[in-house]
Symmetry: C3
Subunit: 250 residues, 3 copies
């Protein structure tokens, strides 16, 4: 346990073994941090507002929250949760194992996120978003929820397993991005998509099967489904899942 003397940690907060809390970080009452977790400097954990109740912020074991991050109460993160710098995550977010969210990430709360999901930098996840397992979201992607703003109607976006949304794309409210799909960079998707299909443009149209894209490493092997060639950074049990997926496509 190493809590920096300038950190402000509530005595009601529950911290596990080998937890590090950096300088100028604030940890409020309703926070439960498991073993082997690093919370870097200038963070604020367990923030409350008019929508939070007394459910705690829960951070699973082996997690790493980088500097300047703000996590609200009433959210639960499983083991190996890793953030970049300046990440903001609002209340009622539930995320599975090995969730990674890059610098400047902004998750608005009331979201369900599966296992082994990776968001790159500067991603905005609107309320009511539902994200499956092994989903990839790249920089400057926004998932919206108000179909005719401003209104009281919220239609969250759904992104299914293994889908990939490339840089600077918008997913319009209520749209479902099907499993294994690829949304090309700089696109806006206003209709549900089909599995394993590339969508490009604004509004996005189907431009072909994902397997048509070849790896640019000289192997000419298909770049998708990506589990066939990409397993970097995943733990053992995730790699077994990726390998079973890959064999399904043989």
């Amino acid at each position: 346990m190493s809590i920096h003397p300038t950190a402000i940690v509530s005595t009601k907060a529950i911290l596990g073994e080998n937890v590090t809390v950096g300088p100028f970080t604030i940890i409020h009452d309703n926070v439960e941090i498991a073993d082997n977790v690093v919370i870097e400097s200038h963070c604020e954990l367990g923030v409350t507002n008019q929508r939070t109740d007394d459910r705690p912020l829960v951070v699973g074991c082996n997690s790493h929250i980088r500097s300047h991050s703000v996590l609200y109460a009433c959210s639960t993160f499983d083991s190996n949760f890793v953030t970049g710098h300046r990440v903001t995550i609002r209340e009622n977010t539930i995320a599975g194992k090995n969730f990674q969210v890059g610098t400047l990430g902004d998750i608005q709360g009331d979201c369900i996120i599966g296992d082994y999901v990776r968001f790159h930098s500067n991603v905005h996840i609107g309320q009511q978003s539902t994200i499956g397992n092994f989903v990839w979201v790249f920089p400057y992607v926004v998932l919206t929820n108000d179909p005719h703003p401003p209104s009281n109607i919220m239609q969250g976006v759904t992104v299914e397993d293994f889908a990939v949304i490339a840089t600077m794309s918008v997913v319009l409210p209520g749209v479902k991005i099907a499993g294994g799909g690829l949304i090309a960079a700089h696109s806006s998707v206003n209709r549900d998509t089909k599995e394993n299909t590339i969508y490009a443009g604004s509004p996005a149209k189907a431009v072909g099967e994902t397997s048509k894209i070849r790896l640019k490493d000289g192997s000419r092997q298909p770049a998708y489904p990506w589990p066939k060639h990409f397993k970097r950074g995943y733990p053992e049990e995730a790699i077994r899942i990726l390998e079973s997926i890959a064999s399904d496509y043989e």
Copy 2:
């Protein structure tokens, strides 16, 4: 009055009744904060640079500045000014009543913003922007000002009352977004627009009247002008204005 012992508040700063200042927040000399204001942690208020003079930063009553925000000197915010986290607002910004700017908002200064204006997360407002009343700007929208960058020519954008700019759109320098208009998501607007009209695409074209869009709550009522159905979060006097607008359209 509750100022956290780790906050650094200048003795020259003028604070009203019931002002809260969070941990690790810095308040410089030239700052005037009215009654019932909350300034959260890790903020810096009253920042000066080569363009500021001795005019103060003024924050109206009942305001709430969330954590990690930076507000420069020589700007004035009326009552009920509310920010998300990590908001940056440069010098010579003047904003009216109930101004709300979401997390990561970046206002570059030399801007005039009306009453009851709401910016969602990650909005970038270029210098010389002029924003009317009851304007809505959604995530990742940028208002520009240099028509052929880099140059010394600045043509600010104007957004008129009740206009709505949807997610990830750019408004080109000098463009006027007419009252009641709707800029579709993922668009770029390089010409002045007409009132109560939808513009979509890059470069954006008119695609119809805003009233053609129906509420997706089963009522089939027009979603615009939005004051006819949306009054959430507005104070009493604003609701009276919205209701008079709505009746004009009967």
Copy 3:
């Protein structure tokens, strides 16, 4: 030398003459700061991770790092390095003289940046990017590197001297933006471009020579090459270069 008492500065860090370190800023061991440098509040300098070694973070003389910025170890910045607020720069970044990066800038590391380069707010520079001299990048521009994400293949973007990338554009992996070129706002570039040419659209197409764009100050002079009319904020030796470039085009 003025180090705020709340700053945490490692005794191993090497600070030059007339260095200011603001409140709540952390400076780790492996940091070398030259003379006449201002490091504002809430920053963290010299951050290490599994990719850094013992090479220091070097900040050249006359630099100004604004608040809430995070600079990793193993990067080198020449003299007159200026940042906005909340800038994040990862390891193995090398930047030349007078490098300016605006608020919310996110440089992912393993990048080479030339002299007199200016990034506006909220720019995302992917790993393996190579930026020439006198390059301008405007808000919400992303330089990517994975051609079919996720994969282990990284093809960095190259931006040549005097090129300008306007607001909210994406440069696809491995693309080279030729010298003196202009990428219009809200575009995505998936092919190499020609010198002194405007590219617009998604995917971007050539729409004419940059010299066809006229200054909107009534002079009707060509707006490009921009060194012919724009020298604001550059030091003497840079202005001599700009003037020689301008005369080449006579």
